[in-house]
């Protein structure tokens, strides 16, 4: 499964990196983000393109989330 680390990237690169990863493996992906803006942008993109999302916040790291997505 592809894991992408988009921490520290500015708009719209987290979404763009997610898109590129899905072009390689379109069934599932895990995206690491470190801002709520990137989180909602990536989640919105995955929603629009038909993925089921499960997001967890990393313990001890403020505003850092792991978004796991599977093709519906």
């Amino acid at each position: 499964m592809a894991q992408i680390d988009t921490r520290g990237m500015s708009c719209p690169q987290p979404v763009l990196m997610t898109k590129k990863a899905l072009e390689v493996n379109s069934t599932e992906v895990t995206v690491l983000v470190d801002s709520k803006t990137a989180k909602s942008n990536v989640e919105r993109y995955l929603n629009l393109t038909g993925y089921t999302i499960n997001t967890i916040e990393r313990d001890g790291e403020a505003n850092t989330f792991e978004i796991s997505a599977k093709k519906k």
């Binding site: 992408i4 990237m9 500015s10 590129k20």
Partner: protein, 362 residues
């Protein structure tokens, strides 16, 4: 607020507040303009001496403090920086030169459309063209690299600096310049402008409204979230302008605008391209700067320096049209932006994606 209703509401509030600010004294179609207002504030500090555009704009202070306070309250204030600072400074600089060629930032372009200023259609076409060029570079791996965590103090300084500007505005010491004529002399009462700025700052921080993001995401991801805010501003500014009688459809004789279509197009193309590479329009940069993004602080400083240069060297356009110096500056800026865009392409991105399980880790 992360909903379509939220962003449409935000656009509506901005569109109406902008007209209300005009009603109370701001120049027509300039209720809120990030580029113009940074330029005015830069002039008030004496960094340029164009006497008609000097005023510490409380809208900017309000936007920064509003976004700062809400980001702290929502635990989103996060101090980061270190992503190509000087390139961001230069991109801020060229975005300002483009905006001052067109006479307005992307937000004012939208407000001008809402006021019936058809010259802004050339601006909009250029803006979209600039965004498309930027997208081509993004798709080919353009990146200004990652940010890193920095000390809290570095993030607090920018809001603090804005609070300081507010004190200078109220006390008006002799070394601060305030226009007595021209656009700089046109302003709403301080408390109204500050309150409007605070509201805009809070709403834009929550919804992430961004003029460049609207067109960019619609093209790149077929995501219409941000562009709804963009359209909402046009609709509600139009309604507000019609209501107050400011609406004036046409090309000639528009407020703080010129009718040179080619340079309106090129100015906004430069602003659009630069903003895509930066990751957001001037309004968005201001919000990011307020929530601890030091790279955006650097970008705002770049815009301020751009404004100072623009007026010290006659690069800014006027109601009579672009200046010869301004045309040369915009062309040089295109060359600089192309260099920045080209030399920051990460060619190995695709290979990494195809080759392995981990992407983008470094």
């Amino acid at each position: 607020m992360d909903s379509k209703k939220g962003i449409i509401f935000t656009g509506a509030v901005i569109g109406i507040l902008a007209v209300v600010l005009v009603r109370f004294g701001n120049p027509v179609n300039m209720g809120i303009c990030i580029a113009c207002f940074i330029r005015d504030t830069t002039g008030a500090l004496g960094l340029h001496r164009a006497e008609v555009v000097q005023y510490i704009r409380p809208e900017i202070i309000g936007i920064v403090l509003g976004a700062f306070l809400i980001s702290v309250a929502k635990k989103e204030f996060d101090v980061r920086g270190g992503s190509s600072p000087f390139l961001r400074f230069m991109l801020g600089f060229v975005v300002m030169l483009g905006a001052l060629m067109f006479l307005g930032c992307p937000l004012r372009m939208v407000l001008r459309l809402g006021g019936g200023d058809l010259n802004a259609l050339f601006g909009l076409a250029g803006f979209a063209a600039g965004i498309i060029v930027g997208i081509i570079f993004l798709k080919n791996g353009f990146s200004l690299k990652r940010t890193y965590k920095l000390s809290k103090l570095e993030g607090y300084l920018f809001p603090l600096f804005n609070a300081g500007l507010y004190i200078l505005l109220l006390t008006a010491p002799a070394f601060i310049f305030f226009s007595t004529k021209g656009p700089g002399a046109g302003h709403a009462p301080v408390w109204i402008a500050l309150a409007a700025g605070l509201i805009v700052g809070v709403l834009v921080q929550r919804t992430r409204l961004c003029m460049v993001g609207g067109i960019r995401d619609a093209i790149l991801f077929k995501d219409t979230y941000l562009i709804l805010g963009f359209i909402s501003i046009i609709v509600f500014a139009s309604l507000g302008n019609l209501y107050f009688g400011f609406y004036k459809l046409g090309f000639a004789g528009q407020s703080v605008a010129h009718a040179d279509g080619v340079w309106n197009f090129l100015g906004m193309a430069l602003a659009g391209w630069g903003s895509v590479l930066l990751g957001g329009c001037p309004l968005r940069q201001l919000i990011l700067a307020a929530e601890g993004n030091v790279d955006s602080v650097i970008t705002v400083l770049g815009m301020s320096a751009g404004a100072a240069f623009a007026h010290n060297f006659s690069l800014a356009a006027s109601a009579q049209g672009p200046s010869p110096n301004g045309k040369i500056a915009v062309l040089i800026s295109f060359a600089l932006t192309l260099m920045i865009a080209y030399f920051n392409l990460e060619r190995d991105v695709k290979a990494t994606v195809q080759g392995g399980v981990k992407i983008g880790a470094n």
